[in-house]
């Protein structure tokens, strides 16, 4: 629930308590009025007595509308009887006034605790850093925890959170390059299931399987990972049953959290997955309470299906159609790595529309994803050439356009994609070859990044070891203290190197990405 307050509060709102959006269950106005009255009372008492009124209500107020949801009206009288501050104001007050005062203090204390907890839980939710917080809060921007691996306090917090959720903590492997010591580096040979029971009781088995498939690299590529995630969530919802005395809308979100942490530990969540999870959480928490459990589950599964169909599958279709206009006869198109969207575009253009063009597939170690692209394109009968990335300056003179896929599009227009993409964009710019990026709108992300160092993913360094004639030159890299292996997964291409972004909303220049984001957030 605190996360819902964040997007509401992340805009340029001031300290005026704003209603947290139409999705509030009819949180009593009387409740809010009562709280405000109590606060006013408390302020008066403070001024009159100069007593040590515990908490200034100001910072409490912006988070307050977010909090009363958590304050069940039935627990108020109980708390008033509970242990209070221990301060007894000077005599001469009636019992009712005393009680009201104590209640006000309780409210304010609880509000502050909620605010603290809200900040903590916001820092701990999967993947996404927020925009700069409101002016009333502190000025320091909070970093998401997945880029704070070298900060022991943040790691301790993470470990505590995982323990609470009963998700095992994955150990980092090998020495990291200094510039990237703030990121996790895991080994594929030490999966997370080593520390879990068989069959796992806390995490649903389908989620365990998905996590294993992510960490072993069987499901790769941001679209595939997102589709698999949504399917598994559908299954989770199917297998979920509300415990008694709980509401589905709140309990289901709480039940999803350990699973999301588990998947995050297996492999850091991608931008597409993060957006899908945000969408799902919002959908769940704004389910009306009147629905029965069966109907609610049906409705949720339908919304997931709709999201999958619209944002991923139909968007791919739309992008394929718009990109087709840009492909002319006798074109030479350069593609890099394996992007499901680009493959689909090219296959559709060749098979369904019959355009005649050639493709140059550029590949790079250690993933060698270009081979899969090559296989898929050649299977459809497209004429392909295969080169490694160090040969691009040799092939670029004959290339007419470059078609790239993206992992995410950031709010300043930069493109986050497989490592090597920025190189290709850079060299293409030098040769004046247009660079087109295909990306669905659900991958648009509110982060801003200008370099590839801050938020990236480090893959297993042992992947870089190559066996030639039975000898692995880098085999003993761990023993050599001055040798570090770096296996980056993503890199960021600056917006001036990209000429056009093809999305399901049409063809937009890179600088229009923030507009799309704004339109999207207004829609929601």
């Amino acid at each position: 629930m605190a996360e819902r307050a964040a997007p509401g509060g992340a805009g340029p709102e001031t300290a005026v308590p704003v209603p947290a959006g139409p999705q509030e269950p009819e949180l009593s106005r009387e409740e809010k009025l009562q709280l405000r009255k109590e606060k006013k009372q408390q302020k008066k008492k403070k001024r009159s007595e100069k007593g040590p009124a515990a908490e200034p209500p100001e910072p409490g107020t912006p988070s307050d509308p977010g909090q009363p949801r958590a304050a069940h009206p039935t627990s108020l009288p109980a708390l008033a009887d509970g242990p209070s501050d221990g301060e007894k104001p000077a005599g001469g007050k009636s019992k009712a006034e005393l009680r009201a005062e104590r209640r006000a203090k309780q409210e304010a204390e609880r509000a502050q605790k909620q605010a603290k907890k809200a900040e903590l839980s916001q820092a701990a939710t999967a993947a996404k850093p927020r925009l700069t917080p409101t002016e009333s809060q502190s000025v320091v921007k909070r970093l998401p925890e997945h880029v704070q691996v070298d900060d022991p306090a943040a790691q301790r917090k993470l470990a505590k959170k995982l323990e609470r959720q009963q998700v095992p903590l994955r150990q980092d492997y090998g020495t990291k390059v200094n510039l990237f010591s703030h990121l996790h580096q895991y080994s594929r040979k030490k999966p997370l299931t080593q520390q879990m029971s068989i069959p796992s009781t806390v995490i649903h088995p389908a989620v365990v399987r998905l996590g294993l498939q992510y960490s072993q690299g069987i499901i790769n590529g941001s679209n595939a990972r997102c589709i698999a995630l949504l399917e598994v969530f559908k299954q989770l919802i199917r297998d979920y049953s509300t415990p008694p005395n709980e509401e589905l809308s709140r309990d289901l979100v709480a039940k999803l959290k350990p699973h999301i942490s588990f998947l995050n530990q297996c492999r850091p969540l991608s931008a597409s997955m993060g957006n899908a999870i945000k969408f799902l959480k919002k959908e769940i928490s704004c389910l009306p309470d009147t629905l029965r459990e069966e109907e609610a589950k049906e409705k949720l599964q339908d919304t997931i299906d709709k999201y999958l169909r619209e944002k991923i599958l139909l968007a791919a279709e739309a992008i394929s159609r718009s990109a087709f206009e840009k492909i002319n006869d006798n074109d030479v198109i350069l593609v890099y790595g394996c992007s499901s969207l680009v493959n689909r575009t090219l296959c559709d253009a060749h098979v369904k529309k019959g355009r005649a063009f050639r493709v140059i597939v550029v590949d790079s170690r250690p993933r060698l994803e270009g081979r899969e692209t090559l296989r898929r394109l050649v299977r459809k009968g497209i004429h392909c050439t295969y080169v490694m990335i160090n040969a691009i300056s040799y092939v670029l003179p004959e290339v007419s356009k470059v078609l790239l896929g993206a992992h995410a599009l950031l709010a300043n227009g930069s493109v986050m994609s497989r490592v090597g993409t920025s190189q290709i964009a850079l060299v293409s710019k030098a040769y004046n070859v247009p660079v087109l990026v295909c990306c669905e709108t659900y991958k648009f992300c509110e982060r801003v990044q200008t370099d590839s160092f801050v938020s990236n993913e480090l893959d297993d360094p042992d992947d870089l070891i190559v066996l030639r004639k039975g000898q692995a030159q880098l085999g003993g890299w761990a023993e050599n203290k001055s040798l570090r292996l770096l296996n980056l997964v993503y890199d960021v291409t600056p917006p001036d190197l990209v000429d056009l972004v093809i999305t399901d909303l049409g063809m937009i220049p890179c600088t229009s990405v923030p507009v799309v984001l704004r339109v999207k957030s207004v829609d929601q």
Partner: protein, 401 residues
């Protein structure tokens, strides 16, 4: 019992134990797992597959089948991970064996361990099981289907592997077993059947559709094919795997995993402990390894039990295990042996390389070498025993040989 100790190490939580009534009474373990005992009476001679059929109502999800004569310290998660990651039909455990070096008592002459060889074919990664055949089933040649080689051009065939009888099976395999009453043993019939099925297509289904006359018969045949048991809910993940850029092989135009629905995987242990004590030789071998490996297993019992009364400690070798309440007399030398509980060993006895079970009485002056003495036996004075098997409740005369 070793096995039931191993399982909590890998935190399995629910176990169904199929055993005979008498053994169930002996087991009163105090473990955290939920043990569910299913008894089968002695008269029924059930094979492993029959036992599974017997309890198939209790099996609701994918199941891990273990045989109780397995002693191992493998990390179970490795076998199960193979099963999970690749969505396999079957995942099993094997270990590289070495030839037994010591002479097995009670057997005359060395039997060449050639007749019982298994030929196991695995692919390049060493994980996917392509081929399995027992030497007893083959006449003179080893026949390999061409479809296997077309899909996996590199196959490593190994003979030195021992099957640990630890299988992770999907639910539909159990359903298939229930329908198909002719399979009695898991190891010798079901597993090779599954391994063969990986590369054969479900042809009987297609034939059934065309031919309307033999419709009934074909339908019956088709229903026994395991493909019909594979539920189609995996089609949910198909768009995910379409968009994913992983392929398990390269060099040809086929989709990942050749779109085969039945997949068998094997985890081959290189190091670590894995014994199947289903033959005498292996049993003795395992027993002899126990002192060395007790430390390895983390059991911290002292080799000589606290309540054993040993008059002369110096004569007991450091790699012998002596059970509780055993009395050992003076001047007895015990080397490389395992002695059970409640034994009485009198003075001047020399015991080398023996396995002596519980409640055995050994009188003075005996010399035992390389033997196995079972429960409740009595060995009179002056006996000289070498490489023998002495059954339970036997009584050996004085000065016997």
């Amino acid at each position: 019992f070793f096995l039931l100790d191993l399982i909590p190490l890998s935190s399995v939580l629910e176990v169904i134990v199929i055993t005979r009534k008498e053994i169930q009474k002996m087991l009163n373990l105090d473990t955290k797992m939920k043990l569910d005992f299913v008894c089968i009476s002695d008269n029924m001679d059930m094979g492993t597959a029959d036992s599974l059929r017997h309890i198939h109502q209790k099996i609701k999800t994918d199941v891990l089948v273990l045989s109780c004569d397995l002693i191992t310290d493998v990390d179970l998660y490795k076998v199960v991970d193979l099963f999970r990651t690749h969505d396999a039909t079957l995942s099993m455990l094997m270990k590289k064996t070495h030839e037994p070096t010591e002479v097995v008592p009670g057997q005359k002459g060395k039997k060449k361990p050639v007749e019982q060889r298994d030929f196991i074919g695995v692919d390049d990664t060493g994980k996917r099981l392509l081929f399995m055949a027992n030497e007893a089933d083959l006449d003179e040649e080893l026949v390999i289907k061409r479809s296997i080689l077309q899909k996996h051009p590199r196959m490593h065939i190994r003979t030195g592997l021992m099957d640990a009888h630890l299988y992770c099976l999907k639910k539909y395999v159990v359903d298939f077993l229930v329908e198909n009453g002719s399979i009695t043993s898991l190891r010798s019939e079901l597993i090779p059947h599954l391994v063969r099925k990986q590369f054969s297509s479900p042809t009987s289904l297609e034939q059934g559709l065309d031919n309307k006359d033999d419709d009934q018969k074909k339908k019956e045949q088709a229903s026994l094919d395991i493909y019909s048991f594979i539920k189609e809910d995996n089609s949910l993940l198909k768009p995910a795997s379409d968009n994913s850029c992983w392929n398990d092989h390269r060099g040809d135009m086929n989709e990942s995993l050749h779109e085969g629905k039945v997949r068998c995987y094997v985890h081959i242990m290189k190091e670590g402990l894995c014994y199947r004590v289903n033959t005498l030789g292996l049993y003795i071998e395992a027993n002899r390894q126990v002192p060395k490996l007790l430390l390895h297993l983390g059991l911290e019992e002292p080799l000589v039990h606290g309540s054993a009364q040993i008059t002369d400690r110096g004569m007991v070798g450091s790699d012998s295990i002596i059970g509780s309440s055993t009395q050992v007399g003076e001047k007895t030398s015990i080397k490389h042996s395992i002695i059970g509980s409640m034994c009485t060993i009198k003075d001047k006895v020399k015991i080398t390389n023996c396995i002596i079970m519980n409640s055995v009485t050994i009188e003075e002056g005996c010399c035992l070498q390389g033997s196995v003495v079972c429960h409740n036996a009595v060995i009179e004075k002056g006996a000289d025993i070498k490489d023998c098997l002495i059954g339970s409740d036997q009584r050996l005369e004085t000065k016997g040989k």
